[in-house]
Amino acid sequence: MDARLRRVNKEIADCKNDKTSNIRIELIDESPFHLKGSFPGPDGTPYEGGHFEVDIVIPESYPFQPVKMKFITKVYHPNISSASGAICLDILKDAWSPVLTLKSTLISLQSLLCSPEPNDPQDAEVAKHYSTSKSSFEDTAIYWTQIYAGGPGPKEKKGKGSSRSDVRDEVAIAGLEKAHVDQFEALGFQRSKVIDVLRRLNYRGANVAQITDDRVVEELLK
C-alpha cells in the first residue's frame, strides 16, 4: 500500500480511538486526502464554547511536506485571515517536521487560539485591533465565536464574574467603526440591520475601499 495512504489511514484511526482528546478528523468525501478537522475553542479564551472547523488537504509528498490547513469557521484572530481562514503558523511552513501529525497540528491550532502572535500577523487589521485595544478585540472575538462558531456569547462570560463593560458597544463588538454604522443609519436604516450587513460584508480596514456604498445599500434593502 502507498506509504502516504497507510500513514493517513492510521492517523485517522488513532484519532478516532483516542477518547481523551477532543480533536476530531472526518472524511469529507471518499478521498482520504481531503479531510475536515474540528476542535472546541480553548477555555478561558474568547473562543471558549465555540466549535471550530478546519479544512485539511494532504499533499502528494506528505508527511515530508506540510499538510495544508485553513479555518472553515470564521475566526477573529491576528494570525488567521478574517476573510479566507488562512493561517499563519510556523509549523505549517518551514518549521514543519514529518513527525508531526494531523492531530498534533490541530492541537497546535487550538493552542494558537490561546496565544496570538500579533507581531507575525496574517490579518493586519485584526492584529492592529489586538495591539491597540485588547479588551475591545476580545469583545469582537467573543461575538464572532457566538455568531460563527456557536459560542455562548457575552452573557455567559459575564456570569463568570466579569464585571467589565456592562453596556456593550455592539458596533465595537462586531469589529466595525462607529462612523460607518452612523453613516448608513443616517440613510434611514435600522441600526441593528446596518451592523448585521456591514458585518456580513466584512466592512473593515482595507475592505472598506473595496465595497461601494451602493453595494451596502443594496444589501440593506434586501
Binding site: 506509504a3 497507510r6 515530508f64 509549523i91 514529518p98 513527525v99
Partner: protein, 548 residues
C-alpha cells in the same frame, strides 16, 4: 594554512611562469608593432562598450568553494563537512565566520546545525514518537547497548518490520531508511532546499553531505537528485557573492564572474552584457534581471523603460498589431520581413511602416523618422493637449522600440528565407558554400543592430534635450538608415546575372552597418564614462535633471 590547497607548489609555479612569459611577450609586441599613430585596440583590451568577465563552469565554481572550505578547515581544524555547513550557514562570508567562530565556536556550531546544543542535549520528545532511547529514563551510551529494548517503529511511516534499516544523525533521532530517502528527495526536488534538517520536531541538526550522499546514491535515479543537490549548493554560493551571477537560462549551470560590475555605483558607467559561455544565445545582463543585451542604455534606464511599457501597454497596444492599412488605398498590409519600406501590393504606394509617411521623404536626402519633434510639446497650451503631447511623445519612441523588437522576431523568417536564397545561389551561380556566407553574415548583423537600435529609443526617450541628445540621435539615425538599406537589399529578388553585384553591395553595406553600430555603442559607452549623458528624469546613480 596553505598546505591544504589543491595544487602542489610545483604545478602552480609552472603555470605562473608560462603565463607571465606569454603576457610579457604580447605586451612587448603591441608596443613595438603599433606606434602612437595607429588607433588599434591593444589585444586583450576591451572596447568601451564591453565589460571584462569570465564564464565559469559548475566545476570551476566548485573549485572556488573548495578553496574557501579548505581555508576554513585549515584555520579551525574542522573536517570538510563541518566547514561546509558553517560556510553555508554564514552565507560564505569567511571574515564574519572567522570572527564569530573565534568568539564562540560552540554557538556557531549549534547555529549551523553541526552539533546538538549542550544544555538540551536530551532531545525534546516529538508528540507521536513511539520509539525513543532517551525517554525510558536511563542512559546507556549507544556503543555499549544494542537497541533491543523495544521493537522499533518508525515514527513517520509506522513501519515496525524488524528487518527495517534505520538511520539517525548525531542527535539519534532514528527513522527508517525509506522515510529518510523520501524526505531528502522531497527537500531537494520539491523545495530546492540544500540545508536538510533532521526530521524530528524542533531538532536543528543539519544533515552533512556524506549523510545525504549515503542516502541518495543507492536510490535509482538518485544521481539526478545528488546532481541537483550539488547545483543548489553552487547556486547558493553564487548568490552570496556579488562578483558572480548564475546563468538565467533554463537548465544551464554556468556562472559568470564580473567583478567590475559588482557594485551598484558601477552600473551608472557600464552596461555589463555577459555570456555564460555555454551557448551563444546565453547572453544576459550582469547588473539587472534583463535576460538579453540591452546596450547601449544603462540598467537603471532600461528597467525604467520596461516598466513604463508594461504600465502603458494598454494605450500602446494598437501599435504592436502586425497589420496596418495602406495610407493611400486602405487595403490591409501585413509586414512579413524586417524592412520598414512598405509597398502596397494593390496600389503600389510606398510608405514607411513606422511613421506611415511616404517613403519618398525617407530617401537618401533626409531621414528623420527616428527623431521626435519636440516642438509639438512646447506648443501645447492646455492640460489636455499637454497630456496628449506627452502620450504622443511616448508613442513616438515606443513605436520605434516595438518595431525593432517585432522585426528582430521576424528575423527568424528572414534567416530561413536567406538560407533558401543561399541554396539557390549555389545552384544558379558558380559560388561555393563559403562564398555565399555573406548573406548569413548580413542577416546576423541586421539582427544585432536592431537590438542596439531598440534600446537607443529607450535611451532617447529619457535623454534631456540639448546638444548631446542631438548628437546621439544623429548617430541613431545613421545606424537606422544603414540597417534599413541593408535589410531592403536582403529582401530584393535574386537573379543569376546580378549575383556578383548583389554580393558586392551586401558585403559593403554589412561592413558599413557594422561600423555604424560600433559608433553608437562606443560613443554611448564613452559618454557614460565621461558623464556626458543627462536625463529628463531622476535616475539612480546620476545627477538630478536640471530644472529649466
Amino acid at each position: 594554512m596553505s598546505s591544504d590547497y589543491e595544487f602542489s607548489d610545483d604545478d602552480g609555479d609552472y603555470y605562473d611562469d608560462e603565463e607571465m612569459l606569454d603576457g610579457t611577450q604580447e605586451d612587448d609586441m603591441d608596443m613595438d608593432a603599433f606606434g602612437e599613430d595607429f588607433k588599434v585596440v591593444p589585444k586583450g583590451k576591451h572596447k568601451a562598450y564591453e565589460v571584462e568577465y569570465d564564464s565559469l563552469s559548475q566545476a570551476a565554481v566548485e573549485k572556488l568553494m573548495k578553496q574557501d572550505v579548505d581555508h576554513i578547515c585549515g584555520i579551525f581544524g574542522v573536517d570538510v563537512s563541518t566547514a561546509n555547513l558553517l560556510l553555508r550557514y554564514i552565507k560564505w562570508n569567511k571574515e564574519r565566520l572567522i570572527e564569530k567562530y573565534m568568539d564562540n565556536p560552540t554557538t556557531m556550531l549549534v547555529a549551523a546545525g553541526v552539533i546538538v546544543p549542550e544544555a538540551s542535549s536530551q532531545p525534546a520528545p516529538a508528540p507521536i514518537r513511539t520509539h525513543s532511547s532517551t525517554s525510558s529514563g536511563f542512559h546507556i551510551p549507544k556503543s555499549l547497548k544494542p537497541k533491543v529494548e523495544e521493537p522499533f517503529v518508525c515514527p513517520i511511516c509506522f513501519d515496525d518490520d524488524t528487518s527495517i534499516q534505520t538511520l539517525a544523525l548525531d542527535c539519534e533521532h532514528t527513522f527508517c531508511f525509506g522515510c529518510w530517502t523520501a524526505y531528502v528527495n522531497s527537500k531537494i526536488r520539491d523545495e530546492g532546499e540544500h540545508s536538510i534538517r533532521c526530521m524530528a520536531e524542533g531538532c536543528a541538526l543539519v544533515a552533512p553531505d556524506p549523510f545525504i550522499r549515503s542516502i541518495l546514491i543507492p536510490e535509482p535515479g538518485a544521481p539526478k537528485t545528488w546532481d541537483r543537490f550539488q547545483e543548489l549548493l553552487v547556486r547558493q554560493f553564487v548568490a552570496c557573492n556579488n562578483d558572480l551571477k548564475f546563468c538565467p537560462y533554463p537548465s544551464c549551470t554556468n556562472t559568470v564572474s564580473c567583478p567590475s560590475a559588482s557594485s551598484k555605483a558601477s552600473l551608472a558607467t557600464v552596461v555589463p552584457t555577459v555570456s555564460c559561455g555555454a551557448l551563444r544565445e546565453h547572453m544576459f545582463c550582469f547588473g539587472c534581471p534583463i535576460e538579453s543585451d540591452h546596450r547601449p542604455v544603462v540598467c537603471g534606464v532600461a528597467r525604467m523603460w520596461l516598466k513604463k511599457c508594461r504600465d502603458d501597454s494598454e494605450t500602446a497596444n494598437w501599435i504592436k498589431s502586425n497589420t496596418k492599412e495602406c495610407t493611400n488605398c486602405q487595403s490591409t498590409i501585413e509586414k512579413n520581413g524586417g524592412c520598414n519600406h512598405m509597398t502596397c501590393k494593390k496600389c503600389k504606394h510606398e510608405f514607411c511602416w513606422v511613421c506611415m509617411g511616404p517613403w519618398s521623404e525617407h530617401g537618401t536626402a533626409w531621414y528623420s523618422c527616428n527623431r521626435f519633434d519636440e516642438k509639438t510639446g512646447v506648443d501645447a497650451r492646455d492640460a489636455q493637449s499637454k497630456s496628449r503631447a506627452s502620450l504622443e511623445r511616448y508613442l513616438h519612441y515606443y513605436n520605434r522600440w516595438a518595431n525593432h523588437e517585432q522585426s528582430a522576431k521576424l528575423s527568424l523568417d528572414l534567416y530561413a528565407k536567406t538560407e533558401k536564397k543561399m541554396e539557390d545561389m549555389q545552384i544558379t551561380s558558380a559560388l561555393t558554400w563559403i562564398e555565399v556566407q555573406f548573406m548569413k553574415k548580413a542577416v546576423e548583423e541586421v539582427d544585432k543592430c536592431r537590438m542596439t537600435l531598440k534600446w537607443t529609443y529607450a535611451m532617447a526617450y529619457y535623454l534631456a534635450k540639448g546638444n548631446q541628445k542631438d548628437l546621439f540621435e544623429d548617430n541613431q539615425r545613421d545606424l537606422e538608415k544603414a540597417v534599413e538599406d541593408l535589410s531592403e537589399l536582403l529582401e530584393s529578388p535574386i537573379e543569376a546575372e546580378n549575383i556578383p553585384t548583389l554580393r558586392q553591395q551586401v558585403t559593403n553595406k554589412t561592413v558599413y552597418v557594422q561600423k555604424r553600430n560600433e559608433i553608437v555603442l562606443e560613443d554611448t559607452a564613452n559618454g557614460f564614462v565621461e558623464g556626458r549623458w543627462k536625463w529628463n528624469i531622476t535616475v539612480e546613480g546620476f545627477d538630478d535633471p536640471e530644472s529649466d
